[in-house]
Amino acid sequence: MEFVRKWVQVIAGFLMNGYWLFPWTRNIYQGPLKVLCAPGLNCYSCPAATTCCPLGALQQLLGGVRLAIASGQYFFGWYIVGAMGLMGGLLGRMICGWACPFGFFQELLHKLPSPKFEIPRGLRHLKFAILLFFVILLPLLAVDEFGLGAPWFCKYVCPAGTLEAGIPLLILQPGLRETIGFLFFGKFVIMTAFIAWAVMASRPFCRVACPLGAFYALFGKVRAVRLRLDEHKCTNCNACHQVCPMGVKFNESPDDTECITCLACMHQACKFDAISLEFCGLPLTGTRGKRLATTEKTG
């Protein structure tokens, strides 16, 4: 299953970044597909990006809400929030595990040999604050003399934007190099820090700072596709703790909002068939491991 997930990640990454004429055009893709909302974190100013970033689009809409209202247009982000909520309601953070290019990038970084460290669980709450302040409140409330708000998360934090768009565009368009300053170097430091952290810890950006992950995490208990724990079969052997890339202790908190439904606990750890996949309460998986569980329990 891990093999399948990796291929899904590769294909999703390619679909969201399928414009490969950019080395010749030296510009970003400007076709009609950009109206579609990417499920994962993928900067729409990336030269290869074929879809729009939901966070970037939402911040732009919230930042321009005053001007939109003044011109009789009620653009409050219905389309973007609707698309994000639809994906969240159906899949929740499964998107992080299966269709986020930046999450996939971090997984690859974590395979590099290095000392590995855990991430303190308390840091997971930071991403909700980033979602609230940097994506919603600051773009909406901190406006300039023209009534326009800035995309605060993109502008001051997003390491995916620096990696996928900032650096490639500075290479492709030499004229932009004259405009870089403290803002770019600050974001470059943030990006470098998260890259180094991702080598030493599993998915640090997803767990600590990603506002899109925070939004999908809100659907942790009410999403359609989710993992279920059968407490009668679980022996509390804690094998699921060892394989989870998000630091979830599945047998202790099966509804954990951090779960990205990568299925590692179900396929790589649990020998007792205690974990299954379901859609709206209906089982999607069979009885793999049942015989093994019976054999081990009876000795």
Binding site: N27, I28, Q30, P32, K34, V35, C43, Y44, S45, C52, G56, A57, Q60, L61, A68, Q73, Y74, F75, G77, W78, Y79, I80, V81, G82, A83, M84, G85, L86, G88, G89, L90, A150, P151, C154, K155, C158, G161, T162, A165, G166, L169, L170, L176, T179, I180, L183, F184, G186, K187, F188, F219, V222, R223, A224, E278, C280, G281, L282, P283
Partner: protein, 57 residues
Amino acid sequence: MANERKPGRKPDHPLQKAPLWLSLFFLALLLVGIAIDEPGRVLEQARQICLSCIGVG
């Protein structure tokens, strides 16, 4: 025992409707956005290089 499951009978899996209602709610939001031409505004923004977004603006 009243709660004991009969041999061979499959466990009940009641359909959870909350995720479906939630998804329908957000689908409705999406359709509202489409109805007022919000995608047009999104497309207009996405076609431009967002200098602020990449930290050079």
